[in-house]
């Protein structure tokens, strides 16, 4: 049953991807992106990755769709047709082919006694409850065993947020200094989204 649901979701994902490629209306593309995230949430739930599914629902389906819509507000709705270049698709196909060829050397999936699975993860699974008293191994690995990594991730999120604020807010402050009459009230721009 699980594999059938998974296959149905995968097929729908492929359909949505083809739709995104073929569509020229950017608003529809953004909405299709939201649908893609929703299907991914279902697929991740089938794969028992509930925390990833929650992140995908909030970030992929919610936040990034809203950000895309707000970007769409300041551009045109139709995608401009570029002059077609012959060399670029060829280059793209060659690179993709090389990358697919390289995947043959990757470790095979779904085998429990590979060296990558028997090194530290076996230790985490055996000793998490004894060492930390936390039944959820994901939390104990993220916050305790691999605390340095999570510190780095939080710093990356912080840096990304600061960078976005500096880039976008900085330009707004500069524009305000030029013309005070051009007032940008937030509620207008939000209601202008639809």
């Amino acid at each position: 049953m699980q594999s059938i649901i998974g296959m149905v979701l995968m097929t729908l994902l492929a359909v949505v991807m083809i739709g995104i490629i073929r569509l020229r209306n950017l608003f529809a593309v953004v909405i299709f992106g939201g649908i893609y995230s929703l299907l991914m949430v279902g697929l991740l739930l089938v794969l028992d990755a509930v925390d990833v599914a929650m992140t995908e629902a909030a970030v992929g389906g919610g936040l990034s769709t809203v950000l895309m819509l707000s970007v769409l507000y300041s551009t045109k709705e139709e995608e401009i047709r570029l002059v077609r270049m012959r060399a670029f698709p060829l280059f793209f196909m060659v690179v993709t082919g090389v990358l697919i060829f390289a995947t043959w050397d990757l470790l095979p999936l779904a085998i429990a006694d590979l060296p990558s699975h028997t090194h530290v993860s076996a230790y985490y699974l055996d000793n998490s409850l004894k060492d930390t008293g936390v039944p959820n191994v994901v939390t104990s690995v993220l916050a305790s065993y691999r605390g340095y990594d999570t510190l780095g991730e939080v710093t990356v999120i912080f840096a990304a947020g600061i960078a976005v604020l500096v880039l976008l807010q900085g330009s707004r402050i500069a524009k305000k200094k030029v013309s005070r009459s051009d007032s940008i009230s937030g509620s207008d721009s939000v209601s202008g989204l639809e």
């Binding site: 060492d131 939390t139 880039l167 939000v190």
Partner: protein
């Protein structure tokens, strides 16, 4: 969307549950799926859906941008100072076992502090990015 009564009423009804679910994900992360990052994005999406329906102005009054800047840096500082606290108490950096009388309790406290830092930074950053994009205008 300003006059869409169904959206306004349903967002008002769902908002406390979304926030409560975010807090549940945060504090139940030791036992179920989730943790600081998931709780942070859920709380941020609650703020964002409120802003989508009611406009940016009332949200700016509840959560001004300067609070978000403080939150973004405060979360990282909480995380860093947890590590410094464990060093002061005689352990290694981010070695939580020294935070309480025995190892299990120390780990519990340490994970709690660290996840709180993650929650605050993620909520502040996600909401701040949304403010920056949407408040930009044309």
């Amino acid at each position: 969307m300003k006059f869409d009564i169904i959206a306004r009423v349903s967002v008002k009804m769902f908002l406390p549950f979304i926030l409560l679910f975010g807090l549940y994900i945060q504090f139940h992360g030791d036992y179920g799926p989730g943790g600081g990052f998931q709780a942070g994005v859920i709380i941020a999406s609650a703020i964002i859906i409120y802003a989508l329906v009611f406009g940016l102005f009332p949200v700016h009054q509840i959560v001004p941008l300067r609070y978000l800047r403080l939150m973004m840096s405060a979360g990282v500082l909480i995380y860093l100072s947890t590590g410094i606290l464990t060093m002061i108490l005689g352990g290694n950096y981010l070695e939580y076992s020294v935070l309480a009388h025995d190892q299990i309790h120390g780990q519990e406290w340490g994970i709690f502090f660290v996840e709180t830092g993650v929650l605050i930074t993620v909520t502040g950053t996600m909401t701040g990015i949304f403010y920056a994009f949407v408040g930009r205008g044309r």
